[in-house]
């Protein structure tokens, strides 16, 4: 299911699947991916995971996630894709 991006900074394509809310930030110029991912994460009130479809390892993201109590783990993705699963830290 596709979900339209909302909010003043929202960018990237979002959709909801069984494993969580997906966001595809490939092709966005820096720091667009960082902003789009954080905007989505901060809008989630429960423990729903976020699956990020990226074209590279988003190094700047990890300190920002740690600051708001989230963590990332790399999961398998398509060739040329860097896919992350973001979860709220316990």
């Amino acid at each position: 299911m596709n979900a339209a991006a909302t909010g003043p900074q929202a960018q990237g394509r979002r959709w909801v699947a069984a494993d969580g809310i997906h966001i595809d930030v490939r092709g966005l110029p820096p720091p667009g991916p960082l902003v789009a991912i954080l905007e989505l994460v901060e809008s989630i009130a429960d423990a729903t995971p976020v699956i990020v479809h990226h074209e590279r390892d988003p190094q700047m993201l990890y300190p920002e996630l740690a600051e708001i109590g989230w963590a990332a783990q790399r999961i398998d993705g398509d060739p040329g894709e860097f896919r992350l699963k973001l979860v709220r830290a316990a």
């Binding site: 003043p8 900074q9 820096p30 905007e39 999961i75």
Partner: protein
């Protein structure tokens, strides 16, 4: 089988330079920051009407420009640009070799100016120039393959062009003290000051702001077209200033250069204001406040530059222009950026044994930064008052206040370095592919 957690940031770590590389540049910048204020204190008597020439005020000026501004720019750009450009620096030996050549070179230049000792100044200038050529080559190679950030690449390329002018004129100026005057002191001095402060350092600062400020505020990337117009105006201003330095209608061209520069600054300001106003993080903190003060002082430096171009009847105009431009705009901006990115970079370099990055807020040290904020701004105000009142005592007080701020800033850096090296970390988030 990959060990849980270790593989998680494996890709990230591989594109990061070892922490020792950026932090050796930041550490040297902190030392030279303090040295600059001490040199200014030594030359306080000459500060209010300083207009060039060997001595401790000139040494203080270059301890700030070479020792703090360029030192920080090298460390930060070699660490940040590869992340944004998606291209690694390549060999880690080159940045380390640049540091080993550049750091003593800056000390030799400063001592050569302060004592004065022209042969020491000449030797230091050669070391600094060779190191900066190496840095320029690394930067050019990284920018050449960059994608996704054309505005930053354009600013970086223009800054590199300015660096060439800075190096040629630096050799000419240093050579003049040894009896070899290549370009003529007047022209070389005008080109050197303009292209170093507004060109190389200024364009790097404006260009990196297009990534850093939206990142700090968590805002969308600024409008690329307006950013390009701002850059075009800045480059036009530099070219006009160069033509004026070469003797073509100096006064009208200098005034036109200030006008073009003001246009560039207004556009840049507007884009930064939009990023800060629309970002998710509405209170970006003390670091951004310093950057905002720096932008205001950038505009003030242009006003002082206009006063110089129009031969304003005030004997301290050159000194005031220098304080506004170097200490007010560039130093304030760089210290604002540094206090924000250092804990961030430290967080990206996890300590051994940590499986999650520590939060930047847990690595930073707020109290020293608060002290630095007050001392730095007091130093700027006292220096401005010293020039207006023609008072060496105010200049000395400003230098002491700046030195206290530099000690506080150095304490902040040392605290971050110590905290990032402390082993620890409890939570485990394994690479899901490893299990």
């Amino acid at each position: 089988m990959t060990r849980p957690g270790i593989a998680f940031l494996g890709g990230a770590a591989s594109r990061l330079l070892p922490a020792s590389i950026p932090f050796r540049f930041f550490g040297a910048a902190a030392v030279y920051h303090l040295a600059a204020w001490i040199a200014l204190l030594a030359g306080a008597r000459d500060v209010p009407r300083f207009a060039g020439g060997l001595g401790w005020p000139l040494a203080a000026l270059h301890l700030v420009t070479l020792g703090v501004l360029v030192m920080t720019a090298i460390g930060a750009s070699l660490q940040l640009l590869p992340i944004a450009t998606r291209r690694p620096v390549g060999s880690h030996r080159w940045p380390a070799a640049i540091w080993w050549l550049y750091t003593p070179g800056v000390a030799a230049v400063a001592l050569g100016m302060g004592l004065p000792a022209p042969s020491l100044l000449g030797a230091g200038a050669v070391a600094v120039c060779v190191a900066l050529i190496g840095y320029g080559a690394l930067l050019a190679r990284n920018l050449a393959g960059a994608s996704g950030m054309p505005v930053v690449i354009a600013h970086g390329s223009a800054a590199l062009g300015a660096l060439v002018v800075v190096l040629v004129t630096a050799i000419s100026l240093a050579g003049a003290y040894l009896g070899v005057d290549l370009l003529g002191r007047g022209m070389a001095l005008a080109l050197h000051g303009t292209f170093a402060a507004y060109g190389f350092m200024g364009l790097l600062a404006l260009g990196l702001s297009y990534i850093l400020v939206p990142m700090f505020a968590l805002a969308a990337a600024p409008d690329e077209r307006q950013a390009r117009i701002s850059l075009a105006l800045a480059v036009a201003a530099l070219l006009l200033a160069a033509a004026a330095a070469a003797g073509f209608a100096p006064r009208p061209l200098r005034i036109a250069a200030v006008g073009a520069g003001a246009g560039a600054v207004v556009l840049h300001w507007r884009l930064m204001h939009i990023a800060l106003r629309t970002g998710m993080r509405r209170n970006p903190g003390r670091s951004v406040r310093l950057m905002q003060i720096a932008w205001a002082l950038l505009a003030a430096s242009l006003a002082a530059g206009l006063g110089l171009a129009m031969d304003a009847p005030f004997g301290g105009m050159s000194a005031l222009f220098g304080v506004l431009l170097i200490a007010g705009w560039l130093l304030t901006f760089v210290l604002g950026v540094l206090q924000r990115i250092v804990p961030f970079l430290a967080s990206m370099h996890r300590a051994p044994g940590m499986r999650l990055p520590p939060t930047p807020s847990s690595l930073t040290a707020e109290r020293p930064l608060a002290i630095h904020f007050v001392c730095h701004l007091a130093a700027l105000a006292l220096l401005a008052a010293a020039i207006v009142a023609g008072s060496p005592w105010f200049a000395a007080a400003g230098a002491l206040s700046g030195a206290a701020g530099a000690i506080a800033f150095g304490s902040f850096l040392a605290t971050v370095r110590r905290r990032m090296s402390a082993p620890g970390g409890t939570a485990v988030y394994p690479d899901a592919r490893a299990g």
